[in-house]
């Protein structure tokens, strides 16, 4: 039925287009000078029909179902929900919905079957109502658009105005979604902090979130000090950056200034391939190649290396970040004007002196911006650490130890048994919130630096 509504809408828009074009042509052929070209009158009609009815259908889709559910719930026998929790109410409604969909389990009570029949009836009525409303709306809008067709009507400005608002809405949409995400995070986080004091979370040195969700579970007592978790992320990200920054920068400098065209034409595609490898594959690489190698190397040196070390996860993450840093640094170095290069060379500077003393300092804001973006990627990276890092939070900065990371904890907390009135599950949102604040801060800083750098050379 919704499909039918959309078909009616598009056909109506086409009809409105044709009607207005015909009408405008008639005026033009009658000798009156039109303000706007004929096509704009047609487009105006099509937009006037399309945009509001499209929004109407979308709203209908979003709102009809909850409304029907509510009507059905209200029509149930008095006192059905008395003394039941939200979970039990949801269960009853789910059963009614299953019955309405023809899936019958066991022998349902009669009042449930009645409710299911009512539900089916409401849905059918709603579908018919949607089609009827759409037909009425498009006829009214076509008529309205037809009446605007006179010689003086500014159809071009009219249709451009509608398009402009549409584009503005799309631009604002992303902002609204961001705000919605932040609200969802803040809401769940505040619930968490009403159960666990914020000071414990921020300064506590113990992270044992696996507390029982149901009474019959045996689990830890629970401790929500996030410091060791963030320390783990810090260790892994540091290892990653220690690997990625020198290699990435050297790569960029070499490719930009010293490499011959042939070397560049081979290395650049390889870097792009590296940038396109899914992080899950990096994870395999870490657990299947790097971690065993570190372990055997450690054993031959007499050092006890854990099987899921920060070093393995971090160094593989560093490899992932190499193309990221090198492409940013490459762009920044390429953006330094050729005239500066010539100026330094003409003074008798060698190529390396030119690079070190002139090009890198000139490109440093862009390079730093790229590194900061890499930092925020390292902190937020999930798959590699889920696969290669440990699960137990430890207060250590030894990269040969097993540590956990913020993203790993979020994943493990949200897998399996979850209950959104329990600090175990909610602590994932608090971690996510912290992560969001940190990466947001780093990104803002990075963008500021990059922008400042753009102002110099444009």
């Amino acid at each position: 039925m919704i499909l039918l509504a959309f078909i009616i809408l598009f056909v109506a828009a086409a009809i409105g287009y044709v009607i207005n074009i015909r009408a405008a042509q008639a005026i033009r052929d009658g000798g009156a000078p039109l303000h706007s070209l004929v096509g704009f009158h047609g487009m105006f009609s099509a937009l006037v029909v399309l945009v509001p009815v499209f929004i109407l259908i979308l709203l209908w889709i979003a709102l009809a179902d909850p409304l029907i559910q509510r009507l059905v719930a209200a029509s149930l026998p008095e006192g059905t929900f008395d003394g039941l929790g939200t979970g039990a109410i949801q269960l009853i409604m789910a059963e009614i919905n299953s019955l309405a969909g023809g899936r019958v389990f066991g022998t349902p009570e009669d009042w449930k079957i009645e409710a299911a029949e009512r539900l089916v009836g409401y849905e059918r009525t709603a579908d018919i109502a949607l089609v009827v409303v759409v037909i009425i709306a498009v006829i009214a809008l076509i008529a309205f658009a037809r009446r605007t067709v006179i010689a003086e009507f500014r159809a071009r400005q009219g249709s451009e105005g509608i398009m402009l608002r549409l584009m503005a809405f799309c631009a604002i949409f992303a902002i609204f979604v961001t705000i919605a995400i932040v609200f969802a995070l803040v809401y769940e986080t505040s619930k968490f902090f009403s159960m666990v004091p914020i000071t414990e979370f921020l300064f506590g040195l113990n992270w044992e979130p696996q507390i029982p969700i149901r009474a019959d579970q045996i689990a830890a007592e629970g401790a929500f000090g996030a410091v060791p978790v963030f320390l783990g992320t810090l260790v892994i990200a540091s290892v990653a950056l220690i690997v990625a920054i020198p290699i990435g920068l050297m790569t960029a400098i070499y490719l930009n200034e010293f490499a011959s065209r042939r070397v560049r034409s081979v290395v650049k595609p390889f870097l792009e391939i590296l940038a396109g490898v899914p992080t899950v594959v990096y994870g395999f690489f870490a657990i299947l190649v790097v971690a065993p190698w570190l372990r055997s190397t450690g054993a031959s040196l007499g050092i006890d290396v854990a099987s899921n070390t920060a070093l393995a996860a971090g160094s593989v993450m560093g490899i992932m970040l190499i193309p990221f840093i090198s492409s940013f640094a490459d762009d920044a170095l390429s953006a330094v004007p050729q005239s500066l290069r010539d100026g330094a060379l003409a003074l008798g500077a060698t190529r390396s002196e030119t690079m070190l003393n002139v090009l890198v300092p000139a490109a440093i804001p862009g390079i730093v911006g790229g590194i900061l973006l890499a930092v925020s990627r390292a902190i937020g990276e999930t798959m590699i650490v889920v696969m290669a890092a440990g699960l137990i939070a430890r207060m250590t900065i030894n990269p040969l130890d097993s540590v956990t990371a913020v993203t790993v904890q979020i994943v493990t907390l949200l897998i399996g048994d979850t209950a959104f009135d329990n600090p175990k599950t909610l602590s994932a949102f608090a971690l996510g919130m912290m992560l969001f604040i940190i990466t947001l801060g780093i990104n803002v800083l990075a963008l500021r630096i990059v922008r400042k750098y753009r102002e110099i050379y444009d």
Binding site: L340, A346, G348, A349, V358, P361, A362
Partner: protein, 266 residues
């Protein structure tokens, strides 16, 4: 009157040859950009290269400090000697040659460093100053020589990129003269500047002639006439005519030169 004075100066100073080019050919890939150019550049003289766009005058200028070496596809043949020494000899390091043959570019290109560091950069990489005091002396002398000392002496720590276009170009000249070069190459040094800044630079070029041999590429024939003693006219990669500046402009020998200076080709 002015012309007479100039002629006296010229005859008085037409002394030694600083740079001598013989049979120079330049190729960019398959393009033959410079064809068999012979030219003698005198010491303590301003030599102007004129000619229509794409005639090869800048390319030839860049042969004189081996800046063409930085372009992969560029090949230079023939001989260019400076004080009798072949500058394309394998024993000559182009890096050290460029310290002796300074260059100023079309667009002012100060480094994004302070005014002081811009000037001190060349002396620093060539080890010309042992102490900070030595360096201060070199920087001040260079800025004075480029006639910009009085404008910047109170803000030597300010970034060089913050100066006006004309000041930036004089800073670049100061930077070039700071390495104590013997020859100064200028590739259209005034084409990005307004008339007032241009006049200042031209005045400066005339003063620089006291110490250096100056080679200037210019699009402006008036500028060539004003600042140079010798003029070389390039056309399609050939050196068409090379003579005293007043001869070129008053009594050109080649019909192509005459067409160019009267505005018929170019």
């Amino acid at each position: 009157m002015m012309d007479d004075l100039r002629r006296i100066e010229r005859t008085a100073e037409m002394n030694d040859t600083k740079i001598s080019a013989k049979g120079v050919q330049v190729f960019y890939g398959d393009t033959h950009a410079i064809k068999d150019v012979d030219v003698q550049i005198g010491d303590k003289t301003v030599t102007a290269f004129i000619g229509p766009s794409g005639c090869g005058k800048s390319t030839f200028l860049r042969c004189l400090n081996r800046m063409n070496d930085t372009i992969d596809i560029c090949r230079v043949q023939g001989s260019i000697t400076m004080d009798g020494q072949d500058i394309y000899d394998p024993r000559v390091d182009p890096v050290q040659l460029r310290a002796k043959v300074g260059m100023v570019f079309q667009k002012p290109n100060p480094f994004p460093k302070s005014i002081y560091d811009n000037v001190a950069y060349g002396p620093k990489i060539h080890g010309l100053a042992q102490t900070k005091a030595d360096m201060d002396v070199i920087v001040e002398a260079s800025l004075r020589r480029a006639a910009i000392w009085n404008e910047v002496k109170d803000r030597l720590d300010a970034p060089g990129t913050g100066l006006s276009g004309g000041q930036q170009q004089r800073l670049c000249i100061a930077r070039a003269v700071a390495t104590a070069p013997e020859v100064l190459l200028m590739d259209e040094p005034c084409s990005a500047l307004d008339p007032i800044a241009t006049a200042q630079i031209e005045e400066l070029i005339d003063e620089l002639r006291q110490q250096f041999s100056v080679v200037i590429v210019t699009h402006s024939m008036q500028q060539a006439a004003r600042v140079s003693q010798k003029t070389a006219f390039f056309h399609l990669g050939n050196l068409v005519e090379f003579n005293d500046t007043d001869q070129i402009f008053t009594n050109p020998q080649d019909p192509r030169t005459e067409s160019y200076i009267t505005g018929r080709i170019g």
